[in-house]
Symmetry: C2
Subunit: 427 residues, 2 copies
């Protein structure tokens, strides 16, 4: 058992609280103390009201057990609505905005007993313009984005689990950069009511935790899914090592890592084969760009038309590109998604999961970029479930991750495989 409450996993904390060995208040105070100690440096939080968080925790301690997350603090990316806390999408247009309702996922985890600890920093409208958040492993490096604050807060033991979102690579990439687990479920698994929409064909609510079990726990509490039976899993999944058409964009540490992970899984009795897809599958990357820009030109249309000068130049440019895109070009991108989706459907006949980089390498230096989503955008566009697990280090000593991808709606399989792989790789 971890010595300090804020270092506990969500699962462990929930068990300790259920057993009466820990109060939610002590846990929340532990997290708040860590935030007080570290957040001036890390800047993971857009909003925390310590007194209100403690009051939520006390209500849990006073009341009957409500569910899977009873008394457990959760961070919520600041593009997801909360009725009791401001929700500003990291945009001055929405400074101090207080939604009228909790988002569906927030309401669901509150019903499961969660304490909503605060709102985590996001890039502007979950796009590219960076948050102020820093990588807790090295403050001079980006934590990745757009779920920057969620990944950094979980990595830095400020909160055990947090919600992120992913439209390109916004859950998996920051998780990999911060050395934690990120889970982007199958499209639509966690209800999106109350999410500030960027691109509705792509936006997916995901989770961050320091273990696969924790990332799964938050998603299950938010969606009503049954927790996979991690403890009893003894499978040896068939793995396809998928280098993607962008293998040449990975750094050497990542290429070495993937080869080593494949070898160690083989040594544990897993069948690992090379997964090759038709070269036409490369079209999915441009399709993601087209769909995202076209749809966000609509979803952020009001903000552009009425508050253009308060958008970042980067976002203005993206919206302008979306407006310059024809509907016909957008619909051809949807054709590509359907076609490439069929190719991956076929690929999953011979393997259970794909093994692939989570990012091109470790977190880049500086805070002017959140890194490259090249190893995520394809999966988001296809709606396939992805889990990144921390594994190894890059040249600068920052965390690396490897990503497991499952077939459509194969969330349980990919979570179980990722957790089993992590156990093998941590031996």
């Amino acid at each position: 058992m971890a010595s300090l409450p804020n270092q506990m996993s969500a699962l462990q904390a929930a068990r300790e609280i259920a057993a009466g060995r820990l109060t939610s208040e002590a846990l929340v105070r532990g997290c708040l103390a860590r935030i007080a100690e570290r957040d001036a440096a890390v800047q993971a939080w857009a909003f925390v009201d310590p007194e209100a968080a403690i009051e939520q925790a006390r209500a849990c301690d006073r009341g009957p057990r409500r569910g899977l997350l009873h008394g457990v603090p959760v961070g919520v990316k600041d593009v997801i609505d909360t009725a009791d806390q401001p929700t500003a999408y990291n945009s001055p247009i929405y400074a101090g905005h207080r939604p009228r309702a909790d988002a569906a996922c927030v309401a669901a985890v509150r019903r499961a007993g969660a304490v909503i600890l605060g709102k985590t920093e996001t890039t502007e409208f979950a796009n590219n313009h960076p948050a102020r958040t820093r990588n807790p492993h090295n403050l001079s490096h980006t934590p990745g984005g757009s779920s920057s604050g969620s990944a950094a807060a979980v990595a830095d033991h400020m909160v055990p689990v947090a919600f992120g979102t992913q439209t390109g690579g916004s859950t998996i990439r920051p998780a990999a950069f911060c050395g934690i687990v990120g889970y982007k479920p199958t499209f639509n698994l966690i209800n999106r009511a109350g999410l500030k929409i960027v691109a509705e064909s792509l936006d997916t609510i995901g989770t961050h935790g320091r273990s696969v079990e924790d990332a799964a726990l938050l998603a299950c509490a938010a969606s009503g899914r049954t927790m996979p039976d991690f403890a009893r899993y003894k499978g040896t999944p068939r793995v396809g090592l998928y280098r993607t058409p962008h293998w040449d964009k990975t750094d050497e540490a990542t290429r070495t890592l993937l080869a080593s992970v494949a070898e160690r899984l083989r040594a544990a009795g897993w069948a690992v084969v090379d997964a090759d897809l038709p070269p036409q599958a490369v079209a999915i990357y441009d399709a993601n760009t087209t769909i995202m820009q076209y749809e966000e030109a609509f979803s952020l249309g009001y903000e552009y038309d009425h508050h253009r000068e308060r958008l970042s130049e980067d976002l203005r440019t993206r919206i302008e590109r979306g407006r310059a895109t024809t509907r016909e070009h957008y619909e051809r991108a949807i054709d590509v998604v359907l076609e490439v989706g069929g190719m991956f459907h076929d690929a999953f006949r011979s393997v259970d999961v794909l093994l692939t980089p989570s990012a091109p390498g470790e977190a880049p230096f500086g805070l002017t970029t959140t890194g490259n989503a090249l190893f995520n955008r394809n999966w988001t566009t296809l709606g396939l479930p992805c889990v990144t697990i921390p594994c190894g280090q890059g040249q600068k000593g920052l965390p690396l991750g490897v990503q497991f991808v499952g077939p459509y709606r194969g969330d349980t399989a990919v979570l179980l495989a990722a957790d089993a792989a992590r156990k093998i790789l941590s031996r």
Copy 2:
């Protein structure tokens, strides 16, 4: 040309304005006069600010032409956000609620020059609890729902076009009951950012007009799609007459109407055949109920948890049923959607469009129900494009409609077929 501006089609009005023969102000004043004359009886509008509408119209008259809808008034169902007008979802929980942004579809049609005339009445959160709106053809009858106000306002010449939404049968059914055209596009065709979500796998923004062209015009302005070339269309589509597994729920007038429409289309040279689907296709209806209830238990979770006493009993019951539904049951319903979707995909190999009832019959008496969505829920669940055109009358002299359904993303084909059919049937 219609004698009064409020009786013009949107297309005609846009042309007259573009030609300098009509001002937007005169058109909007005509619509406002009709509302002043009739809305105490019909009660189609949740909010209209005449001065603000006239101000929008004057701005159009002063400025350069902005797009397809320059100067044309549009009604917006009150589950779709408007930044300059309250948006209350017909729920006391949201009385006076003023969203921070326009929904994507509202922002898009404003860019195309539309005047947002006001907010049209909806059932509570676009569910079953009726709006106060009455059927303009007979005030003792329901206009249908949930897009009650949009259908009634368009039918009663208060506005040429309006946005509705459909999760079960909420755009097509009220259009049929009110004797107008309703268009529910392929799932996701009109961007949903800023829509109050009921069931995100189902919710579809649709349009009401008094012609197929007008319903298409509003959808094209909202989505960036190209207008189908109605004037030049000379096709003779292959039609499958699909009686559905619920043919015995239709009234005699509807059965007679469908037979007569099939005969008249045949006489015009169209190939009309009976479309039969495997009996398992009937499972789609229960799947719709399961998906809707399960998802709205999440999307309206906050409202139920915090304002239960301000929800209608009907909606409380639905949410409670959704909460009593297991995730496994919900996921089996998704399996059904995928399976039945495949059956219809196959059916569209031999026909271009399906011809099917829009509703079981004419609008029921009374305002305690909005009628039955049995002939709509299946199409919404499958995401297929539907157009209802007014055609004939029921036993009580109220309008009937027939519905054309197209394959996934076959919106242009179904709009063209419906418009051509209407021309044939009005000879």
